[in-house]
């Protein structure tokens, strides 16, 4: 099978408008004859469901949470990028495109990224019209802040809770369509499988998480808006429920999985305190606008700090190493996330880490407080500072924050073409669930942009083209393919519930997380990856023998839910490692120790690896097949990324 990304011909800036014109349309009167299934109600899912329903399609929307408003997009803090150039500081669609391609270390498609930058401006208009209360200047116009990887201020925000406000905006649009009867909402439902008929996606099988009922839902197309798979690492900034199940089941039904090893490790998270830890908390990247990252100049001073012999404030300026400012004078503390994370790890590996564990660096606001006053700092970052104090019991106004990188986002995901369709016709992936726009590293404030771009402004156009081509003939949920899928789901659940071994599901998840973090985390090498493959494979076998799953199917059973998700993570983990192993270059968040510049930066190998790795599932315990989609760059020159 050859992968056709379906990037339209023609100049970059005209591709999307030409493509929109060429797409087939569905007559308004016919739209009501189609049903579209949307799984996930975060920014991508809620915006897609609402927009499609507004157009006249019937939508069935699903989420595993008790309400669509709780999808994890809600937790995004810092902001959303848009090429509005309201600041008159030289921004443009082309610059946002360029920053995103470069930030992604040249492993994303030009066509997709340009479209993302193009529609970014519409997103802000849409959100404001919905009543999203963005931060404003005293004159009443919208305010912006700066984010990593850019030298312009293009990030729109609502204090430290931008994701919440954007999601509540999309949720309100969704609610309006639920009220209008165009969207039927299924909360506390988990997607357990995708159903294909004659190779086309025609519906899903779900488990009602309260009653345990296994239900079939038929539709003309299925949209997976189910987020990323960072929880494969056990500890991450993801919500506890975030999982790969929907994407993984789709993968097993024929959707290729692209660049699974591209994981974003976010530099500014609150460090781990102990084994009981269930998740990690992010401190927004926006803090790097005013916070300065440093460690002590010497190992000896770091040791004294860790023992509590001295306090951070005791260290004189000349005893501090502001390593990001020193190494990257032009971007300073605002280098992209992968660069900032790797440098923090380097400092800790050198023995210059701080905090009781020594696995942390400082993020210091003393200068900002001196320059702006405590009140201004409180106004800008108050809720983040409060959150930090709540968790650590330390006052960041008085002493520097301790931060360390943590798994945050997955650039990899289901392979999609320019229309956001996976390799299964009629099956789409939107938002973090797809792989398409961020290359090997995502820039801050771009996830919200991509989720909403896909849902509000891309899928309403591209889906119509497919629906027009298949026609509105109704799909029957009693088709044997649905019954077969239901049977398989029931057997899977029965098998999980039959596990009565000695180890809890969480123990397996934690072990998997350790393996992934150790060998497939911030730095990877061949030996480690080979070892990780063996370890994961053994762990998975052990899971199916010695795990313990309690309760029954016919009730709310959180242990069963978790077991089913962990079973999928145990399969995904191995594919991630395999992908990392095959890509012998470093790029963005994927750092192969064997491939670095003299200065220790990620060194790409464009001659051999300028491609998207798309993996095809071949059956249980069989190696997956690698397909390569060559990336073509006609508008940017591939260079070694430099933020110096």
């Amino acid at each position: 099978m050859t992968l056709d990304a379906k990037i339209p011909e023609g100049p970059l800036a005209e591709k999307w408008s030409k493509h929109k014109f060429n797409l087939k349309l569905v007559n308004p009167a016919n739209k009501r004859k189609y049903t579209v299934i949307v799984v996930g109600t975060g920014l991508a899912g809620a915006s897609a469901a609402a927009s499609l329903a507004e157009l006249g399609y019937n939508v069935k929307a699903f989420c595993f949470q008790d309400s669509p408003r709780r999808a994890h997009s809600i937790a995004a803090q810092g902001g959303i990028n848009a090429a509005k150039n309201y600041q008159n500081d030289g921004d443009s669609i082309h610059r946002l495109f360029y920053d995103t391609i470069k930030g992604g270390d040249y492993r994303a498609r030009e066509g997709n990224v340009y479209r993302l930058a193009e529609v970014s401006v519409n997103i802000i208009d849409q959100c404001v019209a919905q009543g999203v209360p963005f931060a404003r200047e005293y004159g009443g116009l919208l305010d912006n802040r700066s984010f990593g990887g850019a030298q312009v201020s293009r990030t729109f925000y609502a204090r430290g809770q931008t994701g919440q406000q954007l999601l509540l905006g999309a949720y309100s649009a969704l609610n309006r369509q639920i009220h209008a009867g165009k969207v039927t909402m299924f909360s506390r439902h988990e997607m357990m499988d995708v159903v294909t008929i004659d190779g086309q996606a025609k519906g899903i099988v779900t488990r009602n998480l309260v009653t345990g009922n296994i239900e079939s839902h038929a539709g003309h197309a299925v949209l997976l808006c189910t987020g990323g798979y960072g929880n494969v690492f056990y500890l991450s900034t993801n919500a506890m429920g975030c999982n790969v199940t929907a994407a993984w089941k789709a993968h097993k039904r024929g959707a290729f999985f692209a660049n699974p090893c591209f994981t974003q490790i976010h530099p500014t998270c609150i460090p781990v305190t102990g084994d009981h830890q269930s998740k990690l908390t992010l401190m927004s990247e926006s803090l790097r606008n005013d916070g300065r990252v440093w460690v002590p100049k010497t190992k000896e001073l770091a040791a004294k700090l860790r023992n509590g012999e001295i306090k951070p404030a005791d260290l004189k300026e000349e005893d501090r190493d502001y390593f990001l400012e020193r190494k990257y004078p032009s971007f300073g503390n605002l280098v992209p996330r992968d660069v900032a994370s790797r440098n923090a790890k380097e400092m800790v590996d050198e023995g210059r880490g701080v905090g009781t564990s020594g696995i942390a660096v400082f993020l210091d606001f003393a200068d900002a407080i001196k320059r702006l006053g405590e009140e201004t700092v409180r106004e800008k970052y108050g809720n983040l500072f409060d959150m930090y104090q709540q968790i650590t019991d330390e006052n960041p106004y008085k002493q520097p924050m301790r931060i360390y990188p943590a798994v945050h986002y997955t650039m990899g995901g289901l392979w999609v073409d320019y229309n956001l369709m996976t390799t299964v016709p009629g099956l789409y992936a939107l938002g973090e669930a797809n792989f398409s726009d961020h290359g090997a590293n995502r820039l801050g404030a771009s996830a919200l942009m991509q989720g909403l771009a896909d849902g509000y402004f891309v899928i309403p156009y591209t889906l119509g083209d497919y629906l027009a081509s298949i026609g509105p003939k109704p799909v029957d949920a009693n088709h044997p393919a649905f019954k077969e899928a239901e049977k398989e789901v029931k057997a899977h659940i029965k098998q999980l519930l039959s596990l009565k071994g000695k180890k809890t599901v969480d123990q397996y998840h934690r072990e998997l997380g350790h393996i992934m973090w150790e060998y497939c985390g911030m730095a990877r090498n061949e030996d480690g990856l080979i070892k990780a493959k063996e370890l994961i494979s053994a762990l998975r076998k052990d899971f199916w023998k010695n795990a313990f799953v309690c309760g029954s199917n016919e009730e709310l059973n959180q242990n069963l839910e978790k077991a089913s998700r962990v079973a999928d993570f145990l399969e995904l983990g191995e594919l991630m490692v395999e992908d990392a192993l095959k890509r012998k270059e470093s790029c963005g968040g994927h750092f192969r120790i064997e491939s670095q510049t003299d200065e220790g930066e990620a060194k790409r190998d464009d001659d051999h690896y300028t491609y998207v790795a798309a993996w095809e599932y071949k059956g249980d315990d069989k190696p997956e097949t690698l397909h390569k989609e060559k990336l073509v760059f006609e508008n940017v020159k591939l260079t070694q990324r430099s933020y110096k």
Binding site: S51, R69, H72, A129, R136, G140, T356, D506
Partner: protein
């Protein structure tokens, strides 16, 4: 076990509401938690208790939770008689065990309100909140065809005030705190956000009526101005939202088209 904290373990006694499902009666069951680190969050403490229960072959305690950073609104525990526990302005997931003392007895219950029936143990059905939002918690604009964002200047003071209302996470602590199980703080936060903004004006009065009508149908009680909701709200949503909503609701009857 990896221990990075210098603080000692605590021993606690938990009295937890256990209820198999909506149709059975529940009761408080006592558990011992002997290895609690002060650095744990409250939910991490329950994770540890649950791991022990599973090892012993017992059913783990069910509770709603997701983001564990105070923003999704899923967690909803009534701790020692207070929604989200003893501390002001935080959710259950942000509560850390250092807020308790060694030897404490902690009573953990679900939200108690007729409109929030128990599904299992500490998990309740809060879909009534969603239905109130369906009734009118939006500004009726379709995707596309909207004006440039800066065409609608909004004073910073108004935008900030709207954001204060919009920070509601929909957890339901206000209902759980209220002796009447009233949802007025929740509903008024949404009504206020939109009533304050110019974009919300065209549907202002219709919205408040629709949302209040749905709220009443869901079986929430009336507001008697005790202020418990504001005191327990993890996002410290102000009682003045209720005053604003009452004024709009009253005005709606006069200005009704």
């Amino acid at each position: 076990m990896m221990r990075l904290s210098i603080l000692e373990d605590m021993k606690l006694t938990l009295k937890v509401w256990r209820q198999k499902n909506a149709n059975t009666k529940g009761q408080l069951v006592t558990y011992k938690a002997d290895h609690v680190s002060p650095d744990m969050s409250f939910l991490e403490m329950l994770d540890v208790v649950n791991e022990d229960l599973i090892h012993k072959g017992d059913e783990p305690i069910h509770f709603d939770h997701d983001c564990r950073e105070g923003i999704c609104g899923a967690c909803s525990l009534h701790i020692n008689g207070r929604p989200h526990g003893p501390k002001q302005g935080i959710t259950t997931c942000q509560l850390h065990m250092r807020s308790f003392n060694d030897g404490d007895v902690i009573v953990i219950e679900p939200w108690r309100a007729a409109a929030f029936p128990v599904i299992r143990d500490l998990v309740t059905d809060r879909s009534a909140f969603d239905r109130i939002q369906h009734a009118g918690g939006y500004i009726s604009v379709n995707t596309g065809g909207v004006p440039d964002a800066n065409c609608i200047p909004i004073s910073k003071v108004v935008a900030d005030e709207a954001l204060n209302s919009a920070t509601c996470i929909g957890c339901g602590a206000c209902v759980a705190a209220c002796k009447n199980a009233s949802a007025m703080l929740f509903v008024s936060a949404k009504v206020s956000q939109m009533a304050l903004l110019p974009q919300g004006q065209p549907e202002r009065y219709q919205r408040v009526q629709a949302m209040v009508t749905q709220m009443d149908q869901e079986g929430f009680g009336n507001c008697t101005n005790t202020g418990a909701c504001e005191a327990e709200c993890p996002k410290e949503i102000s009682l003045s939202n209720i005053a604003r909503m009452n004024r709009d609701y009253f005005a709606a009857n006069i200005f009704k088209e």
